[in-house]
Subunit: 276 residues, 2 copies
Protein backbone atom coordinates (compact mmCIF):
# COMPACT_ATOMS: atom_id res chain seq x y z
CA UNK A 1 0.00 0.00 0.00
CA UNK A 2 1.41 3.38 -1.04
CA UNK A 3 0.41 6.43 0.94
CA UNK A 4 1.22 10.08 0.34
CA UNK A 5 1.16 12.24 3.45
CA UNK A 6 0.68 15.92 2.70
CA UNK A 7 1.88 18.02 5.63
CA UNK A 8 4.66 16.61 7.78
CA UNK A 9 3.75 18.24 11.07
CA UNK A 10 3.17 16.49 14.38
CA UNK A 11 0.31 14.30 13.15
CA UNK A 12 1.45 13.79 9.58
CA UNK A 13 4.84 12.82 10.96
CA UNK A 14 3.29 10.43 13.47
CA UNK A 15 1.32 8.66 10.71
CA UNK A 16 4.39 8.51 8.47
CA UNK A 17 6.62 7.04 11.16
CA UNK A 18 4.19 4.30 12.13
CA UNK A 19 3.02 3.40 8.64
CA UNK A 20 6.60 3.13 7.42
CA UNK A 21 7.35 0.77 10.29
CA UNK A 22 4.31 -1.28 9.28
CA UNK A 23 5.61 -1.75 5.78
CA UNK A 24 3.56 0.83 3.88
CA UNK A 25 5.40 2.73 1.17
CA UNK A 26 5.26 6.26 2.55
CA UNK A 27 5.74 9.46 0.54
CA UNK A 28 5.85 12.82 2.26
CA UNK A 29 5.24 16.34 1.04
CA UNK A 30 5.57 19.61 2.90
CA UNK A 31 6.25 23.25 2.03
CA UNK A 32 9.04 23.12 4.59
CA UNK A 33 12.12 21.37 3.22
CA UNK A 34 13.48 20.87 6.74
CA UNK A 35 10.49 18.73 7.71
CA UNK A 36 11.02 16.55 4.65
CA UNK A 37 14.70 16.16 5.51
CA UNK A 38 13.84 15.30 9.10
CA UNK A 39 11.35 12.68 7.89
CA UNK A 40 13.91 11.17 5.51
CA UNK A 41 16.74 11.18 8.03
CA UNK A 42 14.59 9.49 10.64
CA UNK A 43 13.26 6.90 8.22
CA UNK A 44 9.67 8.18 8.46
CA UNK A 45 9.26 8.20 4.65
CA UNK A 46 10.56 6.39 1.61
CA UNK A 47 10.72 9.56 -0.42
CA UNK A 48 9.74 13.20 -0.03
CA UNK A 49 9.31 16.38 -2.03
CA UNK A 50 7.93 19.89 -1.68
CA UNK A 51 5.87 19.10 -4.76
CA UNK A 52 3.07 16.60 -4.04
CA UNK A 53 2.70 15.96 -7.77
CA UNK A 54 5.82 13.83 -7.55
CA UNK A 55 3.71 11.23 -5.72
CA UNK A 56 0.00 11.90 -6.21
CA UNK A 57 -0.59 9.66 -9.20
CA UNK A 58 1.25 6.66 -7.82
CA UNK A 59 -0.35 6.70 -4.34
CA UNK A 60 -3.25 4.48 -3.20
CA UNK A 61 -4.10 6.75 -0.30
CA UNK A 62 -3.52 10.49 -0.04
CA UNK A 63 -3.66 11.74 3.54
CA UNK A 64 -4.07 15.51 3.79
CA UNK A 65 -2.57 16.38 7.18
CA UNK A 66 -2.98 20.13 6.85
CA UNK A 67 -4.79 22.82 8.83
CA UNK A 68 -8.56 22.81 8.17
CA UNK A 69 -8.50 25.89 5.94
CA UNK A 70 -5.93 24.39 3.58
CA UNK A 71 -7.65 21.08 2.87
CA UNK A 72 -9.96 22.41 0.17
CA UNK A 73 -7.12 24.50 -1.27
CA UNK A 74 -5.09 21.34 -1.73
CA UNK A 75 -7.93 19.44 -3.36
CA UNK A 76 -8.81 22.37 -5.62
CA UNK A 77 -5.25 22.52 -6.83
CA UNK A 78 -4.60 18.81 -7.39
CA UNK A 79 -7.91 16.97 -7.88
CA UNK A 80 -7.44 16.67 -11.63
CA UNK A 81 -4.57 14.26 -10.88
CA UNK A 82 -6.71 12.01 -8.70
CA UNK A 83 -7.95 8.68 -10.07
CA UNK A 84 -10.86 6.37 -9.30
CA UNK A 85 -8.79 3.80 -7.42
CA UNK A 86 -7.57 6.30 -4.87
CA UNK A 87 -8.82 7.13 -1.42
CA UNK A 88 -8.31 10.71 -0.30
CA UNK A 89 -8.55 11.35 3.44
CA UNK A 90 -7.78 13.95 6.11
CA UNK A 91 -7.38 13.87 9.90
CA UNK A 92 -8.96 17.22 10.68
CA UNK A 93 -10.82 17.79 13.96
CA UNK A 94 -13.91 19.38 12.36
CA UNK A 95 -15.81 18.00 9.40
CA UNK A 96 -19.05 19.73 8.38
CA UNK A 97 -17.34 22.77 6.90
CA UNK A 98 -15.54 20.94 4.14
CA UNK A 99 -16.31 17.20 3.83
CA UNK A 100 -19.20 17.49 1.40
CA UNK A 101 -17.27 19.83 -0.91
CA UNK A 102 -14.10 17.76 -0.61
CA UNK A 103 -15.98 14.59 -1.52
CA UNK A 104 -17.51 16.06 -4.66
CA UNK A 105 -14.31 17.76 -5.77
CA UNK A 106 -12.19 14.65 -5.31
CA UNK A 107 -14.17 12.55 -7.79
CA UNK A 108 -13.43 10.13 -9.37
CA UNK A 109 -11.32 9.41 -6.27
CA UNK A 110 -13.18 8.45 -3.06
CA UNK A 111 -12.99 10.94 -0.24
CA UNK A 112 -13.18 9.21 3.17
CA UNK A 113 -12.58 11.68 5.98
CA UNK A 114 -11.44 10.48 9.42
CA UNK A 115 -10.41 11.81 12.83
CA UNK A 116 -7.83 10.17 15.09
CA UNK A 117 -8.64 11.00 18.74
CA UNK A 118 -5.02 11.25 19.80
CA UNK A 119 -2.30 13.86 19.73
CA UNK A 120 0.12 15.91 21.75
CA UNK A 121 0.35 19.51 23.00
CA UNK A 122 3.33 19.99 20.73
CA UNK A 123 3.93 21.42 17.29
CA UNK A 124 6.25 19.89 14.68
CA UNK A 125 7.45 16.58 13.30
CA UNK A 126 10.21 16.39 15.95
CA UNK A 127 7.55 15.28 18.46
CA UNK A 128 5.86 12.78 16.13
CA UNK A 129 7.05 9.73 18.02
CA UNK A 130 5.36 10.99 21.20
CA UNK A 131 1.88 10.57 19.68
CA UNK A 132 0.33 7.43 21.08
CA UNK A 133 -2.45 5.90 18.98
CA UNK A 134 -2.77 2.63 20.82
CA UNK A 135 -6.24 2.12 22.32
CA UNK A 136 -7.44 5.54 21.18
CA UNK A 137 -10.71 6.24 19.35
CA UNK A 138 -10.81 6.57 15.57
CA UNK A 139 -13.75 8.20 13.79
CA UNK A 140 -14.67 7.77 10.13
CA UNK A 141 -17.12 10.06 8.34
CA UNK A 142 -19.83 8.60 6.15
CA UNK A 143 -21.77 11.42 4.55
CA UNK A 144 -24.45 11.29 1.87
CA UNK A 145 -21.81 11.51 -0.86
CA UNK A 146 -19.38 8.97 0.58
CA UNK A 147 -18.41 5.96 -1.54
CA UNK A 148 -19.01 3.36 1.16
CA UNK A 149 -17.10 0.63 -0.64
CA UNK A 150 -13.88 2.45 0.19
CA UNK A 151 -14.53 2.88 3.92
CA UNK A 152 -12.69 -0.40 4.71
CA UNK A 153 -9.46 1.14 3.35
CA UNK A 154 -9.53 3.80 6.08
CA UNK A 155 -10.79 1.32 8.68
CA UNK A 156 -7.74 -0.80 7.97
CA UNK A 157 -5.52 2.28 8.25
CA UNK A 158 -6.92 2.95 11.73
CA UNK A 159 -6.52 -0.65 12.82
CA UNK A 160 -2.98 -0.81 11.46
CA UNK A 161 -2.08 2.32 13.41
CA UNK A 162 -3.26 0.67 16.63
CA UNK A 163 -6.52 2.52 17.26
CA UNK A 164 -8.96 0.56 19.36
CA UNK A 165 -12.53 1.65 18.79
CA UNK A 166 -13.42 2.62 15.22
CA UNK A 167 -16.78 4.37 14.77
CA UNK A 168 -18.53 5.51 11.62
CA UNK A 169 -20.85 8.54 11.64
CA UNK A 170 -21.93 11.49 9.54
CA UNK A 171 -20.15 14.83 9.73
CA UNK A 172 -22.88 16.54 11.73
CA UNK A 173 -22.83 13.92 14.49
CA UNK A 174 -19.05 14.06 14.51
CA UNK A 175 -18.94 17.81 14.96
CA UNK A 176 -21.58 17.83 17.66
CA UNK A 177 -19.75 15.19 19.69
CA UNK A 178 -16.30 16.64 19.14
CA UNK A 179 -17.56 20.09 20.08
CA UNK A 180 -18.32 18.51 23.42
CA UNK A 181 -15.50 16.06 24.15
CA UNK A 182 -12.67 18.00 22.56
CA UNK A 183 -13.42 21.67 21.96
CA UNK A 184 -15.44 22.38 25.10
CA UNK A 185 -12.79 20.52 27.08
CA UNK A 186 -10.09 22.78 25.66
CA UNK A 187 -12.22 25.88 26.29
CA UNK A 188 -12.53 24.91 29.97
CA UNK A 189 -8.82 24.28 30.43
CA UNK A 190 -7.94 27.57 28.74
CA UNK A 191 -10.48 29.53 30.79
CA UNK A 192 -9.32 27.94 34.02
CA UNK A 193 -5.70 28.87 33.40
CA UNK A 194 -6.53 32.37 32.20
CA UNK A 195 -8.68 33.03 35.27
CA UNK A 196 -5.64 32.58 37.50
CA UNK A 197 -4.37 35.94 38.68
CA UNK A 198 -1.99 34.82 41.42
CA UNK A 199 1.68 34.33 40.72
CA UNK A 200 2.07 31.75 43.49
CA UNK A 201 -0.52 29.36 42.12
CA UNK A 202 1.98 26.69 41.27
CA UNK A 203 2.70 26.15 44.96
CA UNK A 204 -0.93 25.21 45.47
CA UNK A 205 -1.60 22.76 42.68
CA UNK A 206 -2.16 19.03 42.80
CA UNK A 207 -2.49 16.42 40.07
CA UNK A 208 -6.08 17.38 39.38
CA UNK A 209 -5.20 20.94 38.38
CA UNK A 210 -2.16 19.76 36.46
CA UNK A 211 -4.10 17.17 34.46
CA UNK A 212 -7.03 19.41 33.85
CA UNK A 213 -4.94 22.28 32.47
CA UNK A 214 -2.43 20.29 30.39
CA UNK A 215 -4.32 21.16 27.20
CA UNK A 216 -4.34 24.89 27.99
CA UNK A 217 -0.97 24.68 26.26
CA UNK A 218 -2.60 24.95 22.85
CA UNK A 219 -1.67 25.65 19.23
CA UNK A 220 -3.51 28.94 18.70
CA UNK A 221 -3.59 28.84 14.90
CA UNK A 222 -5.01 25.35 14.64
CA UNK A 223 -7.48 25.64 17.50
CA UNK A 224 -8.88 29.05 16.56
CA UNK A 225 -9.79 27.46 13.22
CA UNK A 226 -11.29 24.37 14.85
CA UNK A 227 -13.33 26.47 17.27
CA UNK A 228 -14.69 28.83 14.62
CA UNK A 229 -15.40 26.04 12.14
CA UNK A 230 -17.62 24.40 14.75
CA UNK A 231 -18.89 27.47 16.56
CA UNK A 232 -22.58 26.61 16.59
CA UNK A 233 -22.08 23.28 18.35
CA UNK A 234 -19.45 24.67 20.66
CA UNK A 235 -21.58 27.63 21.79
CA UNK A 236 -24.44 25.23 22.58
CA UNK A 237 -22.10 23.03 24.60
CA UNK A 238 -20.74 26.02 26.54
CA UNK A 239 -24.31 27.01 27.39
CA UNK A 240 -25.19 23.49 28.59
CA UNK A 241 -22.02 23.35 30.62
CA UNK A 242 -22.84 26.66 32.29
CA UNK A 243 -26.22 25.30 33.34
CA UNK A 244 -24.48 22.43 35.17
CA UNK A 245 -21.91 24.72 36.75
CA UNK A 246 -24.64 27.09 37.90
CA UNK A 247 -26.42 24.19 39.54
CA UNK A 248 -23.36 23.73 41.74
CA UNK A 249 -23.27 27.47 42.40
CA UNK A 250 -26.91 27.44 43.45
CA UNK A 251 -26.33 24.48 45.76
CA UNK A 252 -23.51 26.46 47.39
CA UNK A 253 -25.55 29.63 47.72
CA UNK A 254 -28.43 27.76 49.34
CA UNK A 255 -26.21 25.48 51.47
CA UNK A 256 -27.86 22.52 49.80
CA UNK A 257 -25.62 19.66 50.83
CA UNK A 258 -28.05 17.04 49.50
CA UNK A 259 -28.11 18.61 46.04
CA UNK A 260 -24.31 18.69 45.96
CA UNK A 261 -24.13 15.04 46.91
CA UNK A 262 -26.65 14.18 44.21
CA UNK A 263 -24.57 16.08 41.63
CA UNK A 264 -21.40 14.27 42.74
CA UNK A 265 -23.06 10.86 42.75
CA UNK A 266 -24.28 11.49 39.21
CA UNK A 267 -20.84 12.50 37.91
CA UNK A 268 -19.18 9.57 39.67
CA UNK A 269 -21.59 7.10 38.09
CA UNK A 270 -21.23 8.63 34.64
CA UNK A 271 -17.44 8.81 34.85
CA UNK A 272 -17.15 5.19 35.95
CA UNK A 273 -19.31 4.06 33.05
CA UNK A 274 -16.90 5.77 30.70
CA UNK A 275 -14.08 3.45 31.75
CA UNK A 276 -16.08 0.33 31.02
CA UNK B 1 9.07 9.95 66.68
CA UNK B 2 5.71 8.52 67.72
CA UNK B 3 2.66 9.47 65.67
CA UNK B 4 -0.98 8.62 66.23
CA UNK B 5 -3.09 8.63 63.10
CA UNK B 6 -6.78 9.07 63.81
CA UNK B 7 -8.82 7.82 60.87
CA UNK B 8 -7.38 5.02 58.76
CA UNK B 9 -8.96 5.89 55.44
CA UNK B 10 -7.20 6.44 52.15
CA UNK B 11 -5.05 9.34 53.36
CA UNK B 12 -4.56 8.26 56.96
CA UNK B 13 -3.54 4.86 55.63
CA UNK B 14 -1.13 6.40 53.13
CA UNK B 15 0.57 8.43 55.88
CA UNK B 16 0.74 5.38 58.17
CA UNK B 17 2.26 3.13 55.53
CA UNK B 18 4.98 5.57 54.57
CA UNK B 19 5.83 6.80 58.05
CA UNK B 20 6.12 3.24 59.32
CA UNK B 21 8.52 2.47 56.48
CA UNK B 22 10.53 5.55 57.46
CA UNK B 23 10.98 4.29 61.01
CA UNK B 24 8.34 6.34 62.83
CA UNK B 25 6.43 4.52 65.54
CA UNK B 26 2.90 4.59 64.13
CA UNK B 27 -0.30 4.10 66.10
CA UNK B 28 -3.65 3.93 64.36
CA UNK B 29 -7.19 4.53 65.51
CA UNK B 30 -10.43 4.16 63.61
CA UNK B 31 -14.08 3.46 64.45
CA UNK B 32 -13.89 0.63 61.92
CA UNK B 33 -12.11 -2.41 63.34
CA UNK B 34 -11.56 -3.81 59.86
CA UNK B 35 -9.44 -0.83 58.87
CA UNK B 36 -7.30 -1.30 61.97
CA UNK B 37 -6.85 -4.96 61.16
CA UNK B 38 -5.95 -4.14 57.56
CA UNK B 39 -3.39 -1.62 58.80
CA UNK B 40 -1.88 -4.12 61.21
CA UNK B 41 -1.83 -7.01 58.73
CA UNK B 42 -0.12 -4.87 56.10
CA UNK B 43 2.42 -3.46 58.53
CA UNK B 44 1.10 0.10 58.24
CA UNK B 45 1.03 0.56 62.05
CA UNK B 46 2.83 -0.68 65.14
CA UNK B 47 -0.38 -0.85 67.12
CA UNK B 48 -4.01 0.06 66.69
CA UNK B 49 -7.23 0.49 68.63
CA UNK B 50 -10.74 1.83 68.21
CA UNK B 51 -10.01 3.93 71.30
CA UNK B 52 -7.53 6.74 70.56
CA UNK B 53 -6.95 7.18 74.29
CA UNK B 54 -4.78 4.07 74.14
CA UNK B 55 -2.17 6.19 72.32
CA UNK B 56 -2.89 9.90 72.74
CA UNK B 57 -0.69 10.54 75.75
CA UNK B 58 2.35 8.72 74.44
CA UNK B 59 2.33 10.28 70.95
CA UNK B 60 4.52 13.19 69.80
CA UNK B 61 2.28 13.99 66.86
CA UNK B 62 -1.43 13.37 66.55
CA UNK B 63 -2.65 13.45 62.96
CA UNK B 64 -6.41 13.83 62.65
CA UNK B 65 -7.22 12.28 59.27
CA UNK B 66 -10.98 12.66 59.56
CA UNK B 67 -13.67 14.40 57.51
CA UNK B 68 -13.70 18.18 58.13
CA UNK B 69 -16.81 18.11 60.31
CA UNK B 70 -15.31 15.58 62.71
CA UNK B 71 -12.03 17.36 63.45
CA UNK B 72 -13.42 19.69 66.12
CA UNK B 73 -15.49 16.84 67.56
CA UNK B 74 -12.33 14.84 68.09
CA UNK B 75 -10.47 17.73 69.71
CA UNK B 76 -13.43 18.58 71.90
CA UNK B 77 -13.56 15.06 73.15
CA UNK B 78 -9.86 14.45 73.80
CA UNK B 79 -8.06 17.78 74.26
CA UNK B 80 -7.81 17.35 78.02
CA UNK B 81 -5.34 14.51 77.36
CA UNK B 82 -3.10 16.65 75.15
CA UNK B 83 0.20 17.94 76.54
CA UNK B 84 2.50 20.86 75.79
CA UNK B 85 5.10 18.79 73.95
CA UNK B 86 2.66 17.53 71.39
CA UNK B 87 1.85 18.73 67.91
CA UNK B 88 -1.71 18.15 66.73
CA UNK B 89 -2.31 18.35 63.00
CA UNK B 90 -4.86 17.52 60.30
CA UNK B 91 -4.74 17.08 56.53
CA UNK B 92 -8.08 18.60 55.68
CA UNK B 93 -8.62 20.42 52.37
CA UNK B 94 -10.26 23.51 53.91
CA UNK B 95 -8.95 25.47 56.87
CA UNK B 96 -10.74 28.71 57.82
CA UNK B 97 -13.78 26.97 59.27
CA UNK B 98 -11.95 25.24 62.09
CA UNK B 99 -8.24 26.04 62.43
CA UNK B 100 -8.58 28.95 64.83
CA UNK B 101 -10.93 27.03 67.12
CA UNK B 102 -8.83 23.89 66.92
CA UNK B 103 -5.68 25.81 67.83
CA UNK B 104 -7.21 27.36 70.93
CA UNK B 105 -8.89 24.16 72.05
CA UNK B 106 -5.74 22.06 71.66
CA UNK B 107 -3.69 24.10 74.15
CA UNK B 108 -1.30 23.40 75.77
CA UNK B 109 -0.52 21.25 72.68
CA UNK B 110 0.46 23.08 69.49
CA UNK B 111 -1.98 22.84 66.64
CA UNK B 112 -0.22 23.02 63.24
CA UNK B 113 -2.65 22.34 60.41
CA UNK B 114 -1.39 21.18 57.02
CA UNK B 115 -2.66 20.09 53.60
CA UNK B 116 -0.96 17.51 51.37
CA UNK B 117 -1.78 18.26 47.72
CA UNK B 118 -1.98 14.63 46.69
CA UNK B 119 -4.58 11.89 46.77
CA UNK B 120 -6.58 9.43 44.74
CA UNK B 121 -10.15 9.15 43.46
CA UNK B 122 -10.63 6.18 45.77
CA UNK B 123 -12.08 5.59 49.21
CA UNK B 124 -10.55 3.32 51.84
CA UNK B 125 -7.25 2.17 53.28
CA UNK B 126 -7.00 -0.60 50.67
CA UNK B 127 -5.91 2.03 48.14
CA UNK B 128 -3.44 3.78 50.47
CA UNK B 129 -0.35 2.59 48.63
CA UNK B 130 -1.59 4.23 45.42
CA UNK B 131 -1.22 7.72 46.91
CA UNK B 132 1.93 9.29 45.52
CA UNK B 133 3.40 12.11 47.63
CA UNK B 134 6.69 12.43 45.81
CA UNK B 135 7.20 15.90 44.28
CA UNK B 136 3.73 17.08 45.35
CA UNK B 137 2.97 20.37 47.12
CA UNK B 138 2.60 20.51 50.91
CA UNK B 139 0.92 23.46 52.63
CA UNK B 140 1.30 24.43 56.30
CA UNK B 141 -1.05 26.86 58.01
CA UNK B 142 0.36 29.62 60.17
CA UNK B 143 -2.50 31.55 61.73
CA UNK B 144 -2.43 34.27 64.37
CA UNK B 145 -2.66 31.67 67.14
CA UNK B 146 -0.07 29.24 65.77
CA UNK B 147 2.91 28.33 67.93
CA UNK B 148 5.55 28.93 65.27
CA UNK B 149 8.29 27.09 67.11
CA UNK B 150 6.51 23.81 66.30
CA UNK B 151 6.12 24.43 62.56
CA UNK B 152 9.42 22.61 61.83
CA UNK B 153 7.90 19.37 63.21
CA UNK B 154 5.27 19.38 60.44
CA UNK B 155 7.76 20.64 57.87
CA UNK B 156 9.92 17.62 58.64
CA UNK B 157 6.87 15.35 58.35
CA UNK B 158 6.22 16.72 54.85
CA UNK B 159 9.83 16.34 53.80
CA UNK B 160 10.01 12.81 55.20
CA UNK B 161 6.92 11.86 53.23
CA UNK B 162 8.58 13.01 50.01
CA UNK B 163 6.72 16.23 49.32
CA UNK B 164 8.68 18.68 47.22
CA UNK B 165 7.54 22.25 47.72
CA UNK B 166 6.53 23.17 51.26
CA UNK B 167 4.74 26.51 51.65
CA UNK B 168 3.53 28.29 54.78
CA UNK B 169 0.49 30.56 54.69
CA UNK B 170 -2.50 31.66 56.73
CA UNK B 171 -5.81 29.84 56.51
CA UNK B 172 -7.53 32.52 54.46
CA UNK B 173 -4.87 32.47 51.74
CA UNK B 174 -4.99 28.69 51.77
CA UNK B 175 -8.72 28.54 51.26
CA UNK B 176 -8.73 31.16 48.54
CA UNK B 177 -6.03 29.32 46.57
CA UNK B 178 -7.47 25.86 47.14
CA UNK B 179 -10.91 27.08 46.15
CA UNK B 180 -9.32 27.82 42.82
CA UNK B 181 -6.83 25.01 42.15
CA UNK B 182 -8.77 22.19 43.75
CA UNK B 183 -12.45 22.90 44.29
CA UNK B 184 -13.13 24.90 41.13
CA UNK B 185 -11.24 22.23 39.19
CA UNK B 186 -13.48 19.52 40.62
CA UNK B 187 -16.60 21.62 39.94
CA UNK B 188 -15.60 21.91 36.27
CA UNK B 189 -14.92 18.19 35.85
CA UNK B 190 -18.23 17.30 37.52
CA UNK B 191 -20.18 19.80 35.42
CA UNK B 192 -18.54 18.62 32.21
CA UNK B 193 -19.46 15.00 32.86
CA UNK B 194 -22.98 15.81 34.01
CA UNK B 195 -23.61 17.94 30.91
CA UNK B 196 -23.11 14.88 28.73
CA UNK B 197 -26.45 13.57 27.53
CA UNK B 198 -25.29 11.16 24.83
CA UNK B 199 -24.78 7.49 25.57
CA UNK B 200 -22.16 7.10 22.83
CA UNK B 201 -19.79 9.71 24.21
CA UNK B 202 -17.12 7.24 25.13
CA UNK B 203 -16.52 6.49 21.45
CA UNK B 204 -15.61 10.11 20.90
CA UNK B 205 -13.20 10.86 23.70
CA UNK B 206 -9.49 11.42 23.63
CA UNK B 207 -6.90 11.81 26.37
CA UNK B 208 -7.91 15.40 27.02
CA UNK B 209 -11.46 14.50 27.99
CA UNK B 210 -10.29 11.48 29.95
CA UNK B 211 -7.73 13.47 31.95
CA UNK B 212 -10.01 16.40 32.52
CA UNK B 213 -12.86 14.30 33.89
CA UNK B 214 -10.89 11.82 36.01
CA UNK B 215 -11.81 13.75 39.17
CA UNK B 216 -15.53 13.72 38.33
CA UNK B 217 -15.32 10.37 40.11
CA UNK B 218 -15.65 12.05 43.50
CA UNK B 219 -16.37 11.14 47.11
CA UNK B 220 -19.68 12.96 47.59
CA UNK B 221 -19.62 13.09 51.38
CA UNK B 222 -16.14 14.55 51.66
CA UNK B 223 -16.42 16.97 48.77
CA UNK B 224 -19.84 18.35 49.67
CA UNK B 225 -18.30 19.33 53.01
CA UNK B 226 -15.21 20.82 51.40
CA UNK B 227 -17.30 22.82 48.92
CA UNK B 228 -19.70 24.19 51.53
CA UNK B 229 -16.95 24.96 54.03
CA UNK B 230 -15.30 27.15 51.43
CA UNK B 231 -18.34 28.39 49.57
CA UNK B 232 -17.52 32.08 49.52
CA UNK B 233 -14.16 31.60 47.80
CA UNK B 234 -15.51 28.93 45.48
CA UNK B 235 -18.46 31.02 44.30
CA UNK B 236 -16.09 33.89 43.51
CA UNK B 237 -13.84 31.56 41.53
CA UNK B 238 -16.79 30.16 39.59
CA UNK B 239 -17.81 33.70 38.69
CA UNK B 240 -14.28 34.59 37.52
CA UNK B 241 -14.09 31.40 35.52
CA UNK B 242 -17.38 32.17 33.80
CA UNK B 243 -16.04 35.56 32.74
CA UNK B 244 -13.15 33.83 30.96
CA UNK B 245 -15.40 31.21 29.38
CA UNK B 246 -17.77 33.90 28.17
CA UNK B 247 -14.86 35.70 26.54
CA UNK B 248 -14.37 32.61 24.38
CA UNK B 249 -18.09 32.50 23.67
CA UNK B 250 -18.07 36.12 22.59
CA UNK B 251 -15.08 35.52 20.32
CA UNK B 252 -17.02 32.67 18.69
CA UNK B 253 -20.20 34.69 18.30
CA UNK B 254 -18.33 37.56 16.67
CA UNK B 255 -16.02 35.34 14.59
CA UNK B 256 -13.09 37.03 16.29
CA UNK B 257 -10.20 34.80 15.32
CA UNK B 258 -7.62 37.25 16.66
CA UNK B 259 -9.23 37.35 20.09
CA UNK B 260 -9.29 33.54 20.21
CA UNK B 261 -5.62 33.38 19.30
CA UNK B 262 -4.80 35.93 21.99
CA UNK B 263 -6.72 33.88 24.57
CA UNK B 264 -4.88 30.70 23.52
CA UNK B 265 -1.47 32.40 23.53
CA UNK B 266 -2.15 33.64 27.05
CA UNK B 267 -3.15 30.21 28.37
CA UNK B 268 -0.19 28.55 26.67
CA UNK B 269 2.25 31.00 28.24
CA UNK B 270 0.67 30.66 31.69
CA UNK B 271 0.52 26.88 31.52
CA UNK B 272 4.15 26.61 30.46
CA UNK B 273 5.23 28.82 33.35
CA UNK B 274 3.53 26.42 35.72
CA UNK B 275 5.87 23.59 34.73
CA UNK B 276 8.99 25.61 35.47
Amino acid sequence: MKILIVGLGLMGGAYAYRLKELGYTVYGSDINLKSIEYAKNNNFIDDGSVDPLDFIEKSDIILIALYPKLILDFINKYHSYFNENQVITDLCGVKSVFVSKATKLSLPASYISHHPMAGKEKVGIEYAKECVFKDANFLIIKSKETNETKIPTIEKLGKDLGFKRISIMNEKTHDKMIGYTSQLTHALAVSLVNGDHDKNTKNYIGDSYRDLTRIANINENLWSELFLDNKKALIEHINSFEIELNLIKRALETNDSELLKEIFRKSTKKRKEMDK
